[in-house]
Amino acid sequence: MATVNIAGKDVELDEEGFLTNLADWNRDVAEYMAKEEKVDMTESHWEVIDFLREYYDEYQIAPAIRVLTKAIGKKLGPDKGNNKYLYELFPYGPAKQACKIGGLPKPTGCI
């Protein structure tokens, strides 16, 4: 556990750097997390993060990889609707790294 000050606000993170309180998320938090992860946030990253958050609001879980790639493919074209494109954006793995930056809980299990 650690508390960090992000843009003037104290935010609590767990051992793995995920938010303890999901309500603490905002764009500054995302930028902070991305920097920690050595990810340069571009419009393309934000498109993924925004979709993750919308999906989470509805289903209380991050979208499955196929759900995500399909949504991205529909929006940005079939050449981007695949796992490879997501790994280019989030090299440690889209599921965990994008969830962290997007302020979602870490997905667990055999993934």
Partner: protein, 507 residues
């Protein structure tokens, strides 16, 4: 999550026994479970003043309950046959990762408190007090064992190291040092129904999306039914199959097989997980609770058959333990055990592995394939530990080795096995089994994968292999993560039913 810096081992033609490096992995400590999951599972979340008494009491309890554990504590003669059999020792060179030494961490404490010579003359018999240092060593090194049981194959006394590791972890749970990764999952599976925490509506949405994809790809309306009462078959599969790549391609493969066979089948949102992490700490009660969800779902849906998807440890629990956990072997008078026994179709093995099901249909000529569709793949097969050494498949001894290979050969033209001593009952663990598939143990996972990566590299070089097929969700996730460290493409791993999915003809 960028992860710690460490040196990735170099691939070699043979996996040499390394020169030992004492303490090389002493710094690796998996995150300890916080209060939430520990409360839920009925464990403390920090060391209390009485931790030592609790630990010794629990050890005594386990020794009394499991005769095997006492035999394993007493029987070892330190012959050393196991020393170079562990992938974690071979990959890390830390002598505490020799199975004999890892067990000795517990055995020396056992001698001190549970044997007469150890009580009166500990210095004569290598007995040692349980101190906080020893406890911390247990935590570190019992989370550097994947309970794969390869060492047990070579032990002249048949000592099952996995059982010692399980006991170690269970004692640690009881003093407030549970592992975050496994224990959080054990909460999710009991609260939500699966290890991922995928709620019913999300599962339904995901399956609908997959049905659309399959129809778009094949032109055939292949279904993924959910919670269909009266279906003949209940499929229980690891929740990673719904969520991740390459797991989902196997799920699509199962659905296509069921479709081609004209089977009546269903998934269950209540039992949307085959995995049972209760196995990893050997806690019977937890394992039973997790297994019970599947019995409840089977009774509610009224199914006649239970089939288990591609998951290694789930198959061990299903094949070896379901009967005594939740079936007629649990309590012959239990009305629900009796009801389930009467409900299930006695003409089929219960449970049945998805590979048994598919292979049976292939032999009967029900499924048709265009093998050339897999011609871009040169395939090898990785035997997963819990399937290989903890269970069986089919009617013949060794069926768990032959059936998956037979399926691959029926759906693809290019297959090559890896070196004999690295497959079948001598298979090397992927490096991520037994509750170690977590980012905080990435160094252990990468180094522990070395023997498998060496064997894989040899067939890559010699036979131009480009696809590592297997039937375990943990292995799939582990290799997807670890292959790139050794210079391989993460896309070169996938399930046996992914290959089935590619080649199967549907109409």
């Amino acid at each position: 999550m960028a992860g710690p810096e460490f040196e990735v081992p170099t691939l070699t033609e043979y996996t040499d026994v390394p020169k030992i490096k004492p303490g090389a992995m002493a710094h690796v400590k998996s995150f300890v479970a916080p209060q939430g999951p520990q409360d839920f599972l009925g464990y403390p979340f920090k060391l209390g003043e009485d931790w030592k008494e609790r630990a010794i009491d629990k050890m005594g309890d386990l020794l009394g309950k499991y005769r095997s554990l006492r035999v394993f504590m007493d029987a070892c003669v330190h012959c050393g046959a196991c020393t170079d059999k562990c992938h974690y020792f071979l990959g890390t060179a830390d002598p505490n990762n020799m199975p004999v030494a890892r067990q000795e961490l517990m055995r020396k404490v056992y001698r001190r408190y549970f044997t007469l010579p150890g009580k009166i003359a500990p210095w004569l018999v290598g007995a040692a007090d349980l101190t906080e240092d020893v406890l911390n060593q247990w935590y570190n090194y019992y989370h550097q064992c994947s309970e794969c049981r390869r060492c047990s194959v070579y032990c002249p006394y048949g000592i099952d190291t996995a059982e010692v590791t399980m006991a170690g972890r269970e004692i640690l749970n009881h003093v407030g040092m549970g592992q975050k990764y496994s224990n959080e999952i054990l909460v999710k599976v009991q609260k939500i129904g699966n290890n991922l925490g995928l709620p019913g509506p999300a599962l339904e949405d995901t399956l609908l999306g997959l049905e659309e994809d399959m129809e778009a790809d094949t032109g055939v309306p292949v279904k993924m039914p959910l919670d269909v009462a009266g279906a003949e078959i209940l499929l229980v599969t690891p929740s990673a199959d719904f969520f991740s790549e390459p797991h989902v391609d196997s799920l699509i493969g199962y659905a296509k097989v069921f479709h081609a066979a004209g089977a009546s089948w269903t998934l269950s949102s209540k039992a949307s997980e085959a995995g049972n992490f209760g196995l990893f700490s050997g806690n019977y009660e937890t394992m039973r609770k997790v297994a019970m969800r599947i019995r409840d779902a089977a009774l509610e849906l009224g199914v006649k058959r239970i089939i288990v998807g591609e998951c290694g440890h789930a198959w061990r629990v299903a094949y070896s333990f379901w009967n005594t956990l939740t079936g007629i072997g649990f309590d012959g008078k239990d009305p629900f055990s009796i009801e389930l026994q009467q409900q299930l179709d006695p003409r089929y093995p219960q449970p049945m592995h998805i590979c048994e099901y598919t292979w049976d249909l292939i032999q009967k000529g029900v499924l048709k394939f265009d093998k050339s569709l897999n011609d871009d793949r040169v395939i090898t097969y990785h035997d997963s530990c819990n399937v290989s050494r903890g269970s069986r498949m089919g009617d013949e001894p060794g069926g768990q080795f032959e059936i998956p290979r037979n399926i691959i050969k029926a759906v693809a033209n290019n297959f090559h096995d890896m070196a004999g001593e690295t497959i079948r009952e001598g298979t090397f663990c992927c490096g991520g089994g037994g509750g170690l598939l977590t980012d905080d143990l990435i160094e252990v996972r990468v180094k522990g994968a070395l023997p498998r990566m060496n064997a894989y590299n040899n067939v890559v070089q010699k036979d131009k292999v480009n696809f590592l097929a297997l039937i375990c969700a943990i292995c799939k996730a582990q290799f997807t993560k670890v292959l790139p460290y050794y210079g391989f493409d993460r896309g070169s791993v996938g399930g046996v039913h992914q290959l089935v999915s590619t080649a199967i003809k549907l109409d």
